[in-house]
C-alpha cells in the first residue's frame, strides 16, 4: 500500500507536468510519487497521521471516547459518466462510504481511497476528482488518511475506478438493524426518490433526453445524528442506493419477517423524475439514490422523527411513506394512487426500458 498521509510542511510535494497518465505513473518510481503528490496528497487533509508510513495510525483512546463499537465498510465506484449533474465519482465515493457508516448509527471518521486509473486519462480530470473528494470529506468532517494508486493498460478499466473504505464509531446505546422492524412501525424517507438514477441515465446521453435532473448525492451523517437524537428508538436505517427504495424495503421486510405497505400517493417523486420514468417505462421505486435513506421508526416517535428530518436541509421533503404490518412475512406491497394494490418485489436483473 502506498502512503498518502504525510505532513505537508516537512517535504516538498512532487508535481506532474504530463497532460495524461501513462503506465509509468503506476510503476512505483518517481513518476508515481509525483502523481500521488500532485493529485491526491496536495488536496487531502490528512493531518500528518501516520506520515510517510504504509498505513494510517489511529489513536484507540480517541475512538473509545466516541462510542463502544467500530463500524467498518467498503464500497467501489465505477460510475459512468465520471461527472454528472449534481456530482462526480469523487463526491460519490466519499458520500457512499460516509452513508454506509452513518446508516449504522456510526459517526464516520476515517476513509481510505484506492484508485485504479486507465492509462491515457487526463491528469486534470484526476485533479478535479480528488478535489471533489477532499471537499466532500472536509464538509462531512471525515479524513482521507491512506490510499493506493494503480495504473492499468488501456481497456483494462474504464477511465477511473475508486474504492473507499471507511471507519466510524457507533455511540453506546444505538442499535439499528434491518431485522428489528415491528408491525405498527412507520416507514420514512428523507425526500424525493430516484434523482440519482435518473440523473445518471440522463447524463449517459444515449437516451437523447435533456433532463435537468440533479443527482441527490450527499453525505447523510449529519441528518442521521439529528434523526437519532429525536427518535432514539429508531429500528433501522438504510440508504436506498442501487435497486432503490423497493430493494431496501424488501431487505427489511425479509430480515424482520414482517410485511411492509407503502402508499404511492405519499411517495415523494419530482415531476421531472416521474416524467422521465413515464417516458422510458422505468419504475422510480427501483432507481438509485445517493442521498436518500429509509428509516423504520416506532409509531410513537414518528412525528418527532419527521420533524427532525424536515428541520435539516437534506430532509426538507421527508415523508412518512408507509407502515410495517403483520401481513405475509417478507412481502412489500404498494397502495397505488389508483386505489389498487400491487406487489413491490426485488428486481431480478437490471431495469430495462419497455418498448411500447
Amino acid at each position: 500500500m502506498n502512503v498518502i498521509p504525510i505532513n505537508r510542511r516537512t517535504r516538498k510535494l512532487g508535481t506532474v507536468s504530463a497532460p495524461t497518465v501513462t503506465l509509468a505513473h503506476g510503476g512505483g518510481g518517481k513518476a508515481m510519487k509525483d502523481l500521488i503528490d500532485d493529485v491526491f496528497i496536495s488536496v487531502f487533509d490528512s493531518d500528518g497521521q501516520g506520515a510517510l508510513e504504509d498505513q494510517a495510525r489511529i489513536d484507540l483512546l480517541g475512538l473509545t471516547k466516541l462510542g463502544d463499537r467500530v463500524a467498518f465498510t467498503t464500497d467501489s465506484f465505477v460510475v459512468d459518466p465520471l461527472f454528472f449533474p449534481g456530482g462526480d465519482i469523487g463526491k460519490l465515493a466519499i458520500c457512499g462510504t460516509i452513508n454506509d457508516l452513518a446508516v449504522g448509527g456510526a459517526k464516520p471518521l476515517y476513509i481510505s481511497c484506492a484508485a485504479i486509473i486507465e492509462e491515457g486519462v487526463e491528469v486534470d480530470l484526476l485533479r478535479r476528482i480528488a478535489r471533489s473528494m477532499a471537499e466532500t470529506a472536509r464538509e462531512a468532517g471525515v479524513r482521507i488518511v491512506t490510499g493506493d494508486t494503480k495504473v492499468v493498460h488501456k481497456g483494462a478499466c474504464d477511465k477511473v475506478f475508486l474504492t473507499t473504505t471507511g471507519i466510524g464509531v457507533i455511540p453506546e446505546g444505538i442499535v439499528l438493524g434491518a431485522d428489528l422492524a415491528q408491525p405498527g412501525d412507520v416507514v420514512l424517507v428523507n425526500g424525493y426518490l430516484g434523482d440519482h438514477g435518473a440523473a445518471i441515465l440522463g447524463a449517459r446521453g444515449d437516451m437523447a433526453i435533456d433532463s435537468p435532473i440533479l443527482s441527490d448525492c450527499a453525505p447523510l451523517d449529519g441528518l442521521i445524528s439529528q434523526l437519532l437524537a429525536a427518535a432514539p428508538r429508531t429500528r433501522a436505517i438504510r440508504d436506498a442506493t442501487r435497486g432503490g427504495i423497493a430493494t431496501v424495503l424488501n431487505e427489511i421486510a425479509d430480515a424482520s419477517r414482517v410485511s411492509i405497505v407503502i402508499d404511492e400517493e405519499r411517495t415523494p417523486l419530482r415531476p421531472e423524475v416521474k416524467g422521465f420514468c413515464e417516458i422510458l417505462g422505468l419504475d422510480p421505486l427501483y432507481l438509485a439514490n445517493e442521498g436518500k435513506l429509509v428509516a423504520i421508526i416506532p409509531n410513537n416517535e414518528a412525528n418527532a422523527a419527521l420533524q427532525a428530518l424536515r428541520a435539516h436541509d437534506l430532509g426538507r421533503d421527508a415523508e412518512i411513506v408507509g407502515e410495517v404490518t403483520t401481513g405475509e412475512a417478507g412481502r412489500v406491497t404498494m397502495r397505488t394512487v389508483f386505489g389498487g394494490m400491487r406487489i413491490v418485489d426485488m428486481l431480478v436483473g437490471e431495469q430495462l426500458p419497455r418498448i411500447c
Binding site: 444515449d206 416521474k274 413515464e278 389508483f338 389498487g340 394494490m341 430495462l352 419497455r354 411500447c356
Partner: protein
C-alpha cells in the same frame, strides 16, 4: 403531472368500479363462467398490474392477457439469428431495451454482449442510424421488433438511410401485425372470450377499421383502449355495456390519440418499405399466416436477412413451456407447470417471463395478491 394525473383519479375510479359492478349484476344471468375479456396489448397488461386493477374488479370479470407483447412472442430461432449477426466482429447490433433479455436457444443478446459482442440499447431506430453515420467502417444492424406501433419508425429510418445514401445500416425485421393474430385467437377451438380491449398504440397507426371483422364476423365487442388506469376501467365498462345491450361493435375509448382512419403518413411509409410475409412463426402460437412483414425488394440492401448469412434454424419452444396456452387464455400463468419454478424472471424458459409486459413476468412481479385480500 398534467395529462397523466387526470387519468389516475382515485374517486373517478371508485365510481367506475361501482358502475362496472352494477353492469355485471345486470348481465349475470346464471353464467357458469366469468366474463372473459382479453386485453390484446402488453401495455394494458402492464397497466393492469402496475395499478392493481384486477383486484378492483368484481370476481365475475376475468382479464385474459393477450399476445400483444412483441418481445414475448419472438421465437428462439429469430433470437439465435440476431445473436449470430451480433457476434460478427464488424457488426454493431442495436435494439430496444427489453429485447436484450429474451432467451435464444444458446443465449440472449445480453449474454452475447457479455461475451464480447457489440450490442447497444437504443431508443429509436434513428439512434441506430446515427451510429451508422458515426461508424462508417462498421455494419450497424437494428433488431426491429414490434407491432404496427414501432413499424413506421423503422420504415422511416430505412427511407432516411436511403435518402442519405448510408450503406452500412440494415434492419433485421421481426415486425409483426396484430390483426391476423387476433383472428387466429378467435379461430382457436378452445376460445372462450367474451370481448376485447383493443390495442391503443397500434390503432394510433392503423385506425379502428381493421378490427371490424371482430364485431361483424365473430360477434365480439371490442373497445380500443388507452393505457392509463381510468382508460382501462372505462374500456372494460364499455365492453360490458355492449354485452349487456347485446351489441358487438368496435368502439374507440382512446379518441384523444386514435383516429378512426389511422395515421396516413405512417401507413404510407409502412406500405412503401414492407410487404406481408406468407407466414411468421410466433412463440407459443406457432406459425400464423400473414402475421409478419419483411422488407420489400426495393430496399433489399437494408435487409439484414439478405445482407448477412443467418442460420435460420427453427427451434421448437421448450416442451415444458405452456406459453401458448397462456397466450390463448386457456390457462392462467400460475397454472403453467413450470411457472415460478424452472421458469422465472432470472432464467426465463418462455418469453412471457421475459418482458415486464409478459403476463407471466407481470404475475411473478406484481401478481399473487388474491382478489379478496384487496377488496378494500
Amino acid at each position: 403531472m398534467k395529462y397523466v394525473d387526470e387519468f389516475r383519479d382515485r374517486d373517478k375510479a371508485r365510481t367506475l368500479v361501482k358502475e362496472i359492478e352494477t353492469l355485471v349484476g345486470e348481465i349475470d344471468i346464471a353464467r357458469e363462467r366469468p366474463i372473459a375479456i382479453m386485453e390484446v396489448c402488453g401495455g394494458h397488461t402492464h397497466s393492469i398490474f402496475r395499478y392493481g386493477l384486477e383486484g378492483m374488479l368484481p370476481k365475475e370479470i376475468e382479464l385474459v392477457h393477450g399476445p400483444g407483447c412483441p418481445v414475448c412472442v419472438l421465437p428462439m430461432g429469430r433470437i439465435d439469428d440476431c445473436v449470430a449477426v451480433a457476434e460478427r466482429p464488424d457488426v454493431i447490433c442495436t435494439t430496444f431495451g427489453d429485447a436484450m433479455r429474451v432467451p435464444g436457444s444458446r443465449k440472449s443478446l445480453l449474454q452475447a454482449k457479455a461475451g464480447g459482442a457489440d450490442v447497444r440499447m437504443v431508443y429509436s431506430p434513428m439512434d441506430a442510424l446515427a451510429l451508422a453515420r458515426k461508424n462508417p467502417e462498421r455494419e450497424v444492424v437494428f433488431f426491429g421488433i414490434g407491432f404496427e406501433t414501432t413499424m413506421p419508425s423503422t420504415a422511416l429510418t430505412i427511407l432516411q438511410a436511403e435518402a442519405e445514401g448510408i450503406e452500412n445500416f440494415s434492419v433485421f425485421c421481426n415486425h409483426i401485425t396484430i390483426v391476423p393474430t387476433i383472428k387466429a385467437i378467435l379461430d382457436s377451438p378452445d376460445m372462450q372470450l367474451d370481448g376485447f380491449l383493443g390495442p391503443g398504440h397500434v390503432s394510433m397507426v392503423i385506425g379502428t377499421d381493421p378490427y371490424e371483422f371482430v364485431a361483424h364476423y365473430y360477434k365480439r365487442p371490442m373497445v380500443v383502449a388507452g393505457f392509463e388506469p381510468l382508460d382501462v376501467l372505462q374500456s372494460i365498462w364499455m365492453v360490458l355495456k355492449q354485452i349487456k345491450d347485446g351489441r358487438a361493435e368496435i368502439e374507440n375509448q382512446y379518441k384523444r390519440i386514435v383516429p378512426k382512419q389511422g395515421n396516413n403518413r405512417a401507413l404510407d411509409a409502412v406500405f412503401k418499405v414492407y410487404e406481408l410475409r406468407e407466414f411468421f412463426e410466433w412463440r407459443g402460437l406457432g406459425s400464423i399466416e400473414h402475421s409478419g412483414v419483411r422488407i420489400r425488394d426495393a430496399y433489399a440492401r437494408y435487409d439484414a436477412e439478405r445482407k448477412f448469412a443467418m442460420p435460420h434454424l427453427k427451434v421448437a419452444d421448450p416442451q415444458a413451456c405452456q406459453c401458448g396456452d397462456v397466450l390463448k387464455g386457456i390457462i392462467k400463468p400460475w397454472e403453467c407447470r413450470v411457472f415460478g419454478t424452472s421458469c422465472n424472471p432470472e432464467t426465463p424458459l418462455g418469453a412471457l417471463m421475459v418482458s415486464s409486459e409478459g403476463a407471466c413476468a407481470a404475475y411473478y412481479q406484481y401478481g399473487g395478491i388474491k382478489k379478496q385480500a384487496v377488496a378494500s
